[in-house]
Structures are given as structure tokens and as C-alpha cells.
Subunit: 318 residues, 2 copies
Amino acid sequence: MARYVIGIDLGGTKIATGLINERGEIIKKVTMPTLAAEGPKTVIAQVKVSVYEVIKKASIDINEILAIGVGAPGPMDVEKGVIKNPPNLQGWDDIPLHNILLDEFKLPIGLENDANAAALGENLYGSGKGIDNFMYITISTGIGGGVVVDGKLFKGANGNAAEIGHSTINFEGPLCGCGNKGCWAAYASGSALARFAREGIKNGQKTVIKDIVGDENIKAEHIFAAAKQGDDYAIELIGREGYFLGVGLANMVNIFNPECIAIGGGLTHEWDMFYDRMLYVMKEKALKANVEIVKVVKATLGSDVGMIGAAAVAWNVL
Amino acid sequence: MARYVIGIDLGGTKIATGLINERGEIIKKVTMPTLAAEGPKTVIAQVKVSVYEVIKKASIDINEILAIGVGAPGPMDVEKGVIKNPPNLQGWDDIPLHNILLDEFKLPIGLENDANAAALGENLYGSGKGIDNFMYITISTGIGGGVVVDGKLFKGANGNAAEIGHSTINFEGPLCGCGNKGCWAAYASGSALARFAREGIKNGQKTVIKDIVGDENIKAEHIFAAAKQGDDYAIELIGREGYFLGVGLANMVNIFNPECIAIGGGLTHEWDMFYDRMLYVMKEKALKANVEIVKVVKATLGSDVGMIGAAAVAWNVL
């Protein structure tokens, strides 16, 4: 008999809930925009509805589900199953999501921070299959990460390990959303890339980027689009993006000494445009013994990684 | 019947070998200066002699020893028991120390990089007793570290994890011995502190530091001595040292999310002179959820940490 879990990717903009089998295959899925502005009560109701919808869609009963896993934004207390106060989930403050879902569904519930869940998913079903020392990094609006050793997440004391986006790569650098200066994310996230472009344009840089989109609406994708048109400034910005990614990757290689680093997130849609530079800089900066052993690859689960990762979390609580 | 192992702290300047019991107590010890300039053959002979001397001193037979542990400078291949090419062990290049000692003593042999061994020692017998998510950092001429989770070392793919001294904290910073720019060690190690003082004096800084010792022989200890005499420049340098230590500590707190960080190494002799500033900066820079849970303490095993750590490595191979 087939065995199923439910994986819930609870994000600030989207909830994606899937019925997933032991091979990490999605049997059915339901997605909906997160009504984040309406606060935790509404969002929690959405989460519950998404579970009922997905089992209805699959024509199975809740009793046929073995466990439910959730990947959600941090910070959280994983031990207690409590979501603290994520910047992109407005009004959340110490919400005991584990117990809320346990009360509703009477099933084993696993809760993990989203990047950790994704790391587990890629390790179990994606780019990191069979790799003992594995690291997943997501580069999108921010930078997050998760580390899996011998099939187990490296969680830290309260589940907040691998907050790699907020490691300082230049203590004299720009202010980050977290309050620190010169975080990796403040240099190399998609938002940082867009910020650099806006600053450059303000300072009179010639570029077609602002012809593609208004000054204020620049996103990373517009810079890649401009670079493909041969725009010098966009090409320079992407060169710097590769450099900043390489600096942080070198730190990860020295600190975690992984066998494989898989990179996912929005920026990897343009993988070929920064990969060479990123790798060059990483190899130049990291220690030889650590560089020798590491492979850097593109993550393979794509936009389903959060949901499949949440399912991996569910299998892990069984 | 008492059970014993031998712990060998193989350093670039000193070999310290101890007979150690299950409580981490040193029964007998032998130390000698490392004849590093004479190359691996001589140093390996010294290591063997030190083992025979310590069991002779304790009036026991080699058969009463359960295992031998060695802490040595990296890089190394821990799986294969091979020491690669440590900067402070001249002429070493892929030396299979594990097999050499196995041939000699016919006992289980454990080999670990020195900072990892020390981390294990502090976790088992020192400042980290009973702590599940523990990190040890040594600040002396360089900066090294080791992470222990649930009693097991976080080793990485080839035993070179936690090379934290070579994480970049300012990619525009000074060149480090490893070839990278702006490593934590290039800012906050004892050598870096001394280098900043020499540079300042060259640039005309007024200070009593050079009256304590000639310009070229300045070490961290002289700067602390000058600060105790009220020397403004020395006090400024130590303030900056505390800042740089805090920057790197914040990174460790965000990345490893430990419950306890114990700091050892030469600089901790002057713990009170930099602790407050270091902690202040760390708390200001690291994420709240991670700061809340972490304690930062002085390591307790002192100068025996290498030897006791090597003994912990020995117990771990049994």
C-alpha cells in the first residue's frame, strides 16, 4: 500500500500544500496566495483548508496520511514547534503552529524553517541524493541555507543554525534588514542586486535597465534582461553579483566543508550568467583542502522544493 | 581497574603527550620542543619517544593503554589518517601518521585537527560538559574552531570543517596568510593585533608599546601590557580587537546557533580586557533568536586542552 505524507510550504506570499509519497513525488497539490496582511488567524485557517483540499482532490481520507510537515519562515523554536516573528508573516508572534495542527489533524507534525526543510528535500530527493555532507543555499530576495549531515539536519541549539545570509562579509558594508552591516544577503541576494542597480542609476549610470522597468520597480530579473541585451552596467552588476556570491560561498566551504553545495532560489534561473565568476572567486578564496572536495551544483527540485522539503520533514518525524 | 589512553598534542613548537584516564585527568605527562625544522622523520621519532617516556614515567606497560589520540595541525585527511601540509610543520606532505603509529604501537589510533580535538576535550571534560550544541574557538597566533553536536564532532566531508579563522569578514581587508583577503584571523588573531600595532608605529603613532619591546618583536602580550600602563594607542587597539572578535563571533552565532561558545588560546590570558566589547558587538550584530540562547565563556582546560582533547579523540575511537 502506498504511504503518503503532506508537505506544506508556508511562505509570505504563497501557501503550497502537497500530498507526497515516499519517493518525494507529488500526487496532488494545492496552492493559494497567503493572506499575510490579515494576520495569523486567517493564514492558519488557510493552511488547514489547504490540507483538506489536497486530500479531497486525491480522494483519500485524512486517516491515510502518516504525518504532516511544514516549512515556514524563521525565526522559530523548532523544539517547541513555535513560530516566532518572521518579517514576512505580519502579526505572528510565538504562534504554536505545531500544537495547532496537532489539535486539528491528530497526526505527527514536523515544523522546520523553510531553508532547512528545502535542504532536507534536496538531500532526500534532489541534487543531494546520497550525499553525506550536503549544503543547500537559496538565493532569492534573501539568502538562506541548510546543512544535512548523514541524513540529519544541522539544527543548532534552537533550530536557527545556518542563518548564512546574515554572516558579515564586510563589516563596513551596507546596512542589512536584520540591523547588521555588510551581511552576505546585503551584497548578494536578489534584492541587493536590485538595490545596487537603483543606486547606480541614481548616481547617473547609463543603462537600459530603467527603460525595461521604472527606476523604483527594478528587480534582479530586469538586470539579467538588460545584460542579455548587452548593457554594460548590467553586465558589471552581474559580475559583482558573481563575486559577492563567491566570497560567501568560500566562507561556507571553509566553515562547513561540504561535499556538495546545491543552490536554489529565484536567481538560479540565470545560473549560467553568474556561475563561472562565482566558482572562480570561491576557488580563489577558500582553503585548498576544502575546495578540492566540494561540488557546487544547481538545485533540482525547483519551485516545489519548499513543499517536497516539508514532506521530507514529515517523513523525519515518523 | 583504571582505564587509560594516551593523548598527543603535536604542535609546531611543542609536543605534549599525556597518560589520561576516563575522567580526563592527566596521570603523567611529557613535553618537548618540536624539532620542526628537522622535518617529519625526526618529529615522528619524537612523537614515538614521547609515548614510551610517558608510560615509563607511569610505570605501566603499553598493553595497558586502550588507544592513542593525536591532535595535529591541519589540513589533514581525517578519514585516511593523513597529515597534508601544515604551514607550521615544515616538510610534511601527505604523511600517513595514523598508519605509522598503528605499526609502532598496535593500538587503535585517532587523529584529528588540533582545534577539533580541543573542542572535543572541552566538551567532554571542560567548559562544555553536558552541552549538546557546543563550539570551541581558539584565538592565538591564528583562529581555529571546532563544533560538537550531541557529543560528536562536526567534521565536514574531509575533516576540515570549522576553518573559521579563514572566513572573510571584510573582502576588502588585509591579506591573510592563506592567500585570501580580510579573513577573521587577519583581523582578530594575536598576530593580527601585533601587526596592527607595528603598522601604527610605522605610521607615527605615539605609544609605549615599542619601549616595552623593539618594533619588530611586538606580540599581542606587549600591547596588553602597554594598555595596562594606560597607553592610549594600546587601549584603542584592544578596543578594535574586541570589535573584530565580536564581528566573527556574531557570524558563528548565526551560522552554528550554538548553546555555548568556549574561547581558549593565548589571548584569553587577557580575557577581561576584551570580553565586554566583544560580547557587546556580537549581541549587536547577531540575530536575536540566536543570541538569546548562546553563552560565551572562557575555556577551562588551559594549556593542556590539546593533550586532553587528543585523549578525547582516543576515547572516541574505542
